[in-house]
């Protein structure tokens, strides 16, 4: 048995395939056709049922043989993904008719993909290119399977479109509504979020410096800032609309209120983060307030400031979208979400959510990259 090396995923996948085969019909039309051999009933997987199960079985069986991990991974990858693709393609036109074998085959394919990701993450390639490729491939397979299962389950079980549209429908909606999505992104992200984020974060930073410089501000302003941060955004948004009108300035104002306080608190904490020995050192140089601030206290505060910038990047997006629920011109991500929900265009809501998630991730990623470059010296970045 030295040449065999079965994984539990492969064994379980083989068992699932065998059970699926034994149970017979993959869908209700197929069951009907089997019951009435004389009638000509079209049903899914007329030609591909054997192919799907055979692919899964072969991939699982090959993977139990002792092979190089990369070869085994490629076999599993090909088997699992072609089978999944055939499964999803075949159910088209027969949504909601899937029977147990359909889901068993899906589970088997998923187990093989799981085994494939497990193998790939155990690889330790020497070349840098291969490392980068692996770092991208593993989360890509992971993400792809979230979509595959979502797609297969919503279509196979015929989940109502209103509750949860399949990702393919959301993707199609995104592709068909690019101009609308583009103008919504321009309105919400490039105007309200970015301007509010920059003004709010910058104001928080400046007020923190002022509070540090002027003691009476520190005593008086910080508690007030605390109260501002506790303001419920839902309550503030309509008032901002009254003050600044329906267009993006009122949304930017909400974002400013949301982002101001995290930056203020973090900067104040960061300015106190430099050690007393370092501050004594600057004193022995007869260094004034500003040189000490620029050369010692601000660099030492950078990890705190970037923390605030990262927190604010997500807060700003939430603030701008929610603020648009309270009155807006006929453009904007929050506006679109609230109106399309009312018109039952759930795929458009999901499209906006997907775009917002993508924009938020990019925003956060850019801030995190800049942080790594600026605070390269911090133990959490240099690792040690």
């Amino acid at each position: 048995m030295i040449w065999l090396k079965p994984s539990w995923q492969a064994v379980l996948a083989i068992l699932l395939c065998l059970v699926a085969f034994a149970l017979g019909a993959m869908s209700k039309p197929e069951a009907a056709a089997l019951a009435e051999p004389a009638a000509t009933i079209a049903y899914p997987y007329m030609d591909t049922k054997g192919l799907i199960l055979a692919l899964l079985l072969i991939a699982a069986l090959v993977s139990t043989v002792r092979l190089a991990p990369l070869v085994e991974g490629v076999v599993l990858f090909v088997g699992a993904h072609i089978a999944a693709w055939l499964l999803i393609k075949g159910i088209g036109g027969f949504e909601g008719t899937a029977l147990a074998p359909y889901f068993l085959a899906l589970a088997a394919a998923w187990l093989l993909a799981w085994r494939c990701v497990g193998l790939l993450s155990s690889l330790r390639p020497a070349a840098n290119g291969a490392k980068t490729a692996l770092r991208l491939v593993i989360p890509a397979i992971f993400g792809a399977w979230i979509l595959i299962i979502w797609e297969a389950v919503t279509r196979g079980a015929g989940i109502p479109f209103i509750l949860l549209p399949p990702p393919s429908a959301i993707g199609a909606r995104i592709a068909n509504s690019l101009p609308i999505l583009g103008s919504d992104v321009r309105q919400t992200i490039f105007k309200a979020v970015l301007i509010g984020y920059i003004v709010g974060s910058f104001a928080g930073f400046i007020v923190a410096i002022l509070a540090d410089r002027v003691p009476f501000l520190r005593r008086g302003l910080l508690p007030i800032g605390n109260m501002v941060s506790a303001l419920p955004i839902i309550g503030v948004a309509p008032i901002m609309v009254m003050w600044f009108g329906f267009d993006w300035p009122s949304k930017a104002a909400v974002v400013i209120i949301m982002t101001f306080f995290p930056m203020l608190v973090n900067t104040v904490a960061g300015l106190a983060a430099s050690g007393h020995m370092e501050r004594d050192l600057m004193r022995t140089y007869a260094s004034g307030y500003w040189p000490t601030l620029l050369k010692l206290r601000l660099p030492a505060a950078m990890p705190f400031i970037f923390n605030a910038l990262k927190i604010n990047s997500t807060l700003a997006l939430i603030g701008a979208i929610v603020a648009e629920f309270f009155g807006t011109p006929v453009v904007g991500m929050g506006f679109r979400i609230s109106t399309e929900v009312g018109r039952m265009n759930i795929d458009m809501v999901w499209a906006e959510i997907a775009v917002a998630a993508l924009a938020g991730s990019v925003f956060y990623g850019v801030v995190a990259l800049v942080e790594r470059a600026v605070t390269f010296w911090h133990p959490s970045v240099r690792g040690g």
Binding site: G275, R283, T284, Y285, P291, K295, W377, H378
Partner: protein
């Protein structure tokens, strides 16, 4: 620079009382001390004897509450404002976001020297502490001994005539410490700076100093001042000579007397 230079540090009836939550704590009391130019003076004593506090008073990092002190003939504050001294702390206190070179340049930037002058001084002081070739490294890439040497270079880059050192080698192992002691002595010999050096190691104090100030705690005060009879040139093995051991014994007696007085 006047022709007739006064004492570099001169303290009389100096006292410092900290107001703490547990009531006043007398950190220094009745300290009389004069340090001349070119001397290497060590302050030794158990923890809490006020040796670091005394150094901090000289550096104007603490204000005395009694008596008088002058540094270079000025008040400590004026001396600090005119950048009369370089200070080396117990830890290297290098800024991790600056390279070694930029750390050494820090005081020069604050003084406002030209780039060319900065580069010149950096090169000279890095050679002085044997750190040439490590200019572009970050502090966290160097060993503890090298970091402390870099902090000495930073204090020297200033080119002040007075160097205040607060247990600079306390955290280092003995081999590195011996090595740095030797380097410090040769540096002192070459530059003719006045050095005030706080330590709690008797051999270190005796090996380095021309004068040893023995202090004792509660209240912090000077119990003995011992003139060293050793010559200026001191190889490491001088520490086994009877002369060295005799001075060390005197220091130890002084420390012990300070303690029994209190018991």
């Amino acid at each position: 620079m006047s022709g007739q230079s006064p004492a570099v540090v001169s303290a009389s009836k100096l006292g410092l009382t900290f107001q703490t939550n547990d009531g006043p704590v007398q950190a220094l009391s009745n300290v009389d001390l004069t340090i001349g130019k070119g001397e290497f003076v060590s302050f030794i004593g158990p923890s809490g004897c006020g040796k670091t506090t005394l150094l901090r008073v000289i550096a104007d990092l603490e204000k005395p509450t009694a008596g008088a002190i002058s540094v270079n003939g000025m008040t400590p504050e004026q001396a600090r404002e005119s950048r009369a001294y370089g200070y080396v702390f117990q830890a290297a206190a290098l800024f991790p976001w600056r390279t070694i070179e930029r750390n050494v340049a820090l005081p020069l930037e604050i003084i406002g020297l030209s780039k060319a002058e900065q580069a010149d001084r950096i090169k000279r002081t890095m050679e002085l502490v044997n750190l040439s070739g490590f200019e572009k490294k970050y502090p966290w890439q160097l060993s503890g001994g090298m970091q402390q040497r870099a902090s000495i270079a930073r204090a020297l880059a200033f080119d002040a005539d007075l160097l205040l050192m607060d247990e600079p080698f306390g955290a280092l192992d003995e081999i590195v410490r011996d090595h740095l002691n030797e380097q410090l002595l040769s540096l002192w010999d070459r530059t003719n700076k006045t050095i005030c050096f706080v330590t709690h190691s008797i051999p270190e104090a005796v090996y380095l100093s021309t004068r040893i100030v023995v202090m004792s705690p509660r209240p912090g005060r000077v119990t003995d001042i011992i003139e060293s009879t050793l010559s200026r040139k001191r190889p490491l093995d001088i520490r086994e000579t009877p002369e060295f051991l005799a001075i060390a014994a005197r220091v130890r007696d002084g420390l012990r007397a300070g303690h029994s007085y209190e018991d």
